[in-house]
Every structure is written in structure tokens, then in C-alpha cells.
Symmetry: C2
Subunit: 493 residues, 2 copies
Amino acid sequence: MKIRPVNVNTFRENVIFLRKDSEFCRAQTFSPQTKVEISFDGRTMVGLLNTIEEPILAKGEVGLCEYAFEKLGLPAGTEVKLRHMDPVKSVDLVRKKIHGEILDEDDYLQITKDIVENRYSKVELTAFVVACAQGPMEREEVVYLAKAMVETGHSIKWDFPMVVDKHCIGGIPGNRTTMVVIPIVAQYGLPIPKTSSRSITSPSGTADTMDVLADVNLSLPKMQEIVAKEGGCLGWGGAFTLAPADDIIISVERPLNIDAPGQLVASILSKKKAAGATHVLIDIPVGKTAKVQSALHGATLKKLFEYVAGHLDMLVDVIITDGAEPIGRGIGPILEARDVMAVLQNDPNAPQDLREKSIDLAGRIIEFDPKVRGGEGYKIAEEILNSGKALDKMNRIMDAQGRRQQKEPGPLVREIPVPKNGRIESYDNHMLAKFAKLAGAPEDTGAGLYILKRVGEKVKKGEPVFRVYAEQEADLGYAMEYWETHKKMIEVV
Amino acid sequence: MKIRPVNVNTFRENVIFLRKDSEFCRAQTFSPQTKVEISFDGRTMVGLLNTIEEPILAKGEVGLCEYAFEKLGLPAGTEVKLRHMDPVKSVDLVRKKIHGEILDEDDYLQITKDIVENRYSKVELTAFVVACAQGPMEREEVVYLAKAMVETGHSIKWDFPMVVDKHCIGGIPGNRTTMVVIPIVAQYGLPIPKTSSRSITSPSGTADTMDVLADVNLSLPKMQEIVAKEGGCLGWGGAFTLAPADDIIISVERPLNIDAPGQLVASILSKKKAAGATHVLIDIPVGKTAKVQSALHGATLKKLFEYVAGHLDMLVDVIITDGAEPIGRGIGPILEARDVMAVLQNDPNAPQDLREKSIDLAGRIIEFDPKVRGGEGYKIAEEILNSGKALDKMNRIMDAQGRRQQKEPGPLVREIPVPKNGRIESYDNHMLAKFAKLAGAPEDTGAGLYILKRVGEKVKKGEPVFRVYAEQEADLGYAMEYWETHKKMIEVV
């Protein structure tokens, strides 16, 4: 049959469309969740079967959703073979896990392989994720899963004795420390080839913010060249297939909002291992609106990170930070990039919290260097930042990646007045994030929110508290409408 | 926006299609697994958002997959409102269950309500199913789930002091005892309003086989009228919304092939309770290719059935039967219907295993009658069958439901020769089922397989062992092709 793209976006599920009256549908045992294997010249792909009628598909055509079409990577009209897929054997292992058994190293490898080859439907994937979350996983199992995730994807090799990296387990808006930390550490001389993700539900990911300043879509040779020359980079992680099983697992974990420690640790450490890191700083913000909400939970997680990293031949340093407040003033790609550059430029108006936290994290990474005594890292990092050398390094990294032309936020701007006299008690981070999204972030890079008043500041009714930026009138309208009905995002007492 | 059906069959997942450039997609926090609520005049429906491009959707149109369109039940072009759905609160309870907590009666009610209202995506539904399977559920929890399933659907009320029913937990092909049992029991005088399911993956369900003889699509008043007059019926269960949560849960349980005892028992007993049964015979076939593979497992299941039924004010009798072999000779709607009628007609060539098992089960149901001593049921049932009164009752039920014109199997027939001399040692039931499906069953009611030689019979090479029936040449071709490559479906020693 001939393939044909169908413009349906299913979000990371391979869906294969056939006509109900096609020979294939008639001839096969055809049921809900039936999986079909497409093959062409030794290449195969598995997808979930949905039926669709003319006029979308002609006779003899097999439709592929956008995700599947892109994944298969063959031109429309290519003649392919279809096969009813046999049940996936490793799903028996998932059933074993559901029944409470401990799986071994080879079991995790088989499951992970099938996941990467897209043999699991969302239902099977969810069954695996939930079974591992509920079990819970023994810490050996976390090691097996992490190793399997590394083995089933590409790995990057570096010619350095030490490669450092950092990771924040997340949840804090505007938290762009990475873009300050990397130039400091690279300038110090520890290789730090950093890759970050783009936003999925937030108003900007580190890769979106960096994309405002320079090209983040680096090929592997290009990244290696930049790191060899500058000691660091700020690329987009999606360009490499590092631990691809993790991305697929996350696609069901995220909507379920399950944060099972085993999966979290396996996910983060497998990506770092595949990226070639030897020393990793893990930042665990603890706070009411953060992922980790108690110090005790943070401490347990820290031990698991240490155990698993040890078995992957990596050294981790886990730091518990204050996750009570957003970091920086800008929310949205251009606005965040300006915060970062202000810190690097030692601008006295730069957000001090972003500066402090970045120096702190950079200092801890610098202390991975055996020559540095514990406690000296902060001062070294601060000196590099104050001297302007971190800014120089950032400029060289931007040039190496491909500097973008500077863009201003907006052009549409609206000031939001403080609703009453008093003191800012708190902000609702989730509402701030949605406010910025409605204004157009991150697709419209100039859109977002700029926070003029920090928590604790005294304010007068009518003074501006935020600036909302948008590129399009309609978006500004949606954002303002949201503000009118969600003024409780600011608590003034 | 205006609704428009999109001819995509997603198999029980509500999918709502929007164009990526629609205002709704632009304005909302839009991510994988985003759910959208459609509302019209107080009626609402929730679906998973997929994007789809022109020419399928025009501007201002919202597309609904077949399942969703049918469920919403509004004409194409109806103006509806769209709303981004807030996270479903009861998913927090699922997370609690994942973390090993015991849920209470109200928790199960909330979860079940949201499932019935289609607020759960397949991912969330799977999370619930797996969490309950792995836990495992305490037996009180099974009661709560069963009660919640009954409460969130319709229930049928009967004016009889006793209403009996039967259920086989399944897995045995050709097992059409129900169609023999019902006329015997109805003739005896115990009301037995039986509803059955259509095939999903098998070559025929009881409703498909009965559909050959009479209309099975009964309205509730019609069914009540028939039962009042004849004491029994053989309808299709899908026509009523009894315990609808169960159907939705099954849509993920089945592809995962998890048979958690708690869910199995809750599923069966909630349907029986909602159908108004007071006394239920549960048939648990135990055998290598059956659902339950050991007597011990069968015994545990029996206790759970008894406990839960007690809390639902029903009496169950659980019978463990031999599940080692298929029952009857025909596989496929018309062929099975002929087996059933041959037994009712006391035809000496009727399959004796079907006759024996049916009398046995009918006898056990008759013993629910307080007037009947334990052990007497079999004789009573046998007499009713031998006297021809069961046949008369079946004829009256068929007339009441709407008798169909008799149809012959085929018209295409092919005899399959025994591959070698010897004795039939066994059949592979799964392969026989697929063979019959390829020939066209159950869609082509005349298609299927007729087994000429039983397990244990001596055979000579070249003698016919099966007859394959098909309505269409192409299907006969697929079936024969399958036979050529799967001759091991017959083991001759």
C-alpha cells in the first residue's frame, strides 16, 4: 500500500489510518488497540490502527499521522508492506511488574527497547509507568532502567577527563540560572556541554530563551567543535537521540503528574550519562509550589541520585535550594534572555536572586575540580562574573552557535496596576505562567510578563506591578481578559 | 464553533479535532493530552484534543471522531461552545491508589462518575486499572467499585421475587450453552432475562449467534414484555447502559490482558446487579487455554464472587468446569446456531458436550428454586430438554423477539483434509478462532468452521477434519492461506 500523510497531530502516538473497507481491515483479527507494522526495505514502524474514510484516503492508501510520517521519514506515495503486529513480548514483563515482581537487568532492557521502537501503545506505556510508580522500584531496578535507557539511545563521547553538567528538577518559573552558570564554569575551564529542553507547558524552556540569543539547533560535530574551543555550549537536547525512551515515557508521566522517584532519577541520570557527563550538580528546589515539597522527601531523593549515579560511574552533588519564589523578573523568551544578559553584564538593575543562585550553583560545580577546596567555589564563580569574563565567554558561545539579531519585547505593552495599597505577599506562579502563555509566549518570543514588584515590596494602588508584552492584539486581549478574572494571582496585604 | 463528524474510528476514545490555527488552540495552554469540553444547551462532553488541518476542517469547525459524534448525538453543524477542561479531580484519588492507599466508597464513586462522563483519557484510565490490579484491591474496595458501577448507570427493575442469570467468565470457543440453558430455565419457570455481548475479538459472541435466529436488539419495554410472557429472552446487552463504566474500563483492560480478580468480579457482578438479577450462576472454566488456569486460582476467585455478591444482595453459585476443550462443533454465527438448535431438537447428531454442559448449568440454576433439593436440578433440566418443551420455549422466544429467516452457512465450502494418520491429540483454540475470523465470521454470519473430528478420534490422512464456510471468495482465500501456514492448529499423534 502507498503511504500518505494525514494532517492529524496525535502528540507522540504513532497512528496509522486505514479505510474500514480495506483488505487489511477485513482480513485481520481487528480490534481496539490493534497495532500494525509498516515495513519498507528493512525499516519498520509500529502504530496504532484507527480507521478513517474517504475522501481522506483513497483505496490502496495507508495514512500516517504527522508524528508517524515524520518518524518513518519516507516520501508520500512510497509503497510499504503492512503486517498485523504480534503481541509485544515484553508486555508480559510489565504484567509481572504489575503483579509485584522485581524485574532484572535484561527485563528492563527488553522493555526499553520495545518502547524506543514504538511498539508500546499509550495504554501499555501507562501500565509500565504506573506499575513502576506503585511498586515501588527497588534501587537496583532504577539502575537497570537508567542503564537500559542509555543503551537504547546514542551516547556522546568526549575527550576530556572530566565533563560537568547541571540539572534542576524543576517547577520554578523564570529559573534561567543555566544560562549564567554555563559561561562561568566554561570560563573557569571545566568542560560543560549543556543541552536543554524547549517548553512543553511553561512560557519558556531554557532552549527557547537561548534561542533568542543564538541558534540552539546544533549538530553533534558542531557542538563538539564549540565545546573544544569554548569549553561550553547551550544547545537544544531534542536534536540528539539521547535516552529516547525517557522522552516517550515522559509523554504519559506528565499528563498523569506522577513523580515517582525511581523514574525521575532514571530519567535525569540516563540523559546525563548519555550526554557524556562525569560530574553532575543536581538542584532540588523545595517549596510549596515546587516539585519537591518537603525537606525529608528531598533528602530521600538525594540518596537515590547518589546511589544510581554511582552505578553509572558518575559523581553527583545534590543541592537542596529554596523553591518558594520565582527566580528573575522576566517570564517569556526575550524577557528572560534580558534578565540573563543583565546579570552577565553586571548591570546593577539585574535581578539579584538570579545572580546569587547562579553564582552559588556555578561555585558548586567548580568545586568538582579536585584542585578547589570545599567552600572556595562561590568566590571563584563570583570573581569570574564580576570580571566580565563570563560575559565575554557567553558572547563567544553565542557567536560560535550563531548569534541572532537582538529583538525587543513586545511591540504591544500594557502595564498592570496594583489592585490596592499594601505589601506584595505572594504570587501564584501557575497563574503567572498562564498569563504569559496567553500573551503568546513562547511561540511569540517577544511576549510574556515582566515583574516590576517583588514579594515583600510595599506598593500603592495603581502603581504598575507587571508589564505584559504581546506581539498580537488578539493575544493581548486574551491575556487581559485572563487578568480581569484572575487578579488573585497577586496577593497584597 | 460548529461540529462536524470526522470519519475517524478511534475505538472508544473521544477525540476532538481542531485546526492548529484555530483561536482555541492559540489562546489556550495547549499540550499533549489536553482535554476539551464541548457544551450545548446544558449537555457536555469531554474529549482528547488532536489537531487536524484543512481540507478536513474549515475555519470555525470542530471535528468529532465517530465515537464522539455518536455519543454527543447532535446534528452536524450544531453550534457548540468549547472550554479547556480543568484537571479531573478524581485523578488525585488514582494517584493515591498508585501510592498504595485504600480508597473508600465515595472515592470509587467519584472516579467511576468521571469515567462514565468520559473525563478520563486512555492514559488516566490505564493508570486506574493498573493501580487497582497491582494494589491489589481489598475485597471491600471491590464492593465499592461494583456498587459505584451500578449507581452510575441504568438499572432494570423486575416484578419477580427471583430473577436468575448466568455468566461464564470465558475463553472457550463455540461455548454457546447460554442459548440452550435459557429456554430450559424459562420453561421451568424461573425468570431469566439474559443479555449477552457481541464478539469483539472472537468469531462470534452469544448475541451474534442469537442474531441469526431472532432480533436481539430489544428495547427495555419489549424485553420486559417478552420476559413477562415467556420467562426469558436472549437480547444484546449493548442496547442498555448497564454499568457503562465497565465497558470503558474493559477497553483498556482487554488489550493489556490483565485479569485482576477484583476488576473481573466487580465487572461481572455490577452488570448482573444492574440487570436486576437476584441469583447468578457463575461458570469458571479451568484449563490451559482458559482464563483461569489452576483450580487454586479458581477457588480464590469463587470466594471473592461470593463475598462481593453478598454485599450487593445477590446470591451466587460458582461452578468450576472443564475448560480444556472447545464446546460444540460450529465456530461462527450460523454454524453455532445450528449446534444449539440441534441440541434443542434432541437431534442424535447434536454435539453431546454442548448438550451435557447445558443441562448441567441449567440444573444448577433450577436449584436456586428453594423447592428443589440439591442434586435434583440436572434431572429436571434433562426432562425439559428431552420432552421438546425447551425447543417450544426457544421457538416462542424467537417469535417474540422477531424470528429471522433461516440461512444456510456458506455458500462457499471447502473441506480440510487430515494431514496424517493417527489420533487427534488437540486443537489450538486461538488458531481455530483466527481461521474462522479470516473466513469472514462474525460479520458474514454464514462464515466459519465446522469441526468434523473431535479430540480423541482416530483419523486417516486425507479424511475431512473441518469444513470452512465463507460468503466471499477473497475471504476463503485468506482463510486457506492461513491454513496452509498454520497446519499445526491440529495435533495428530
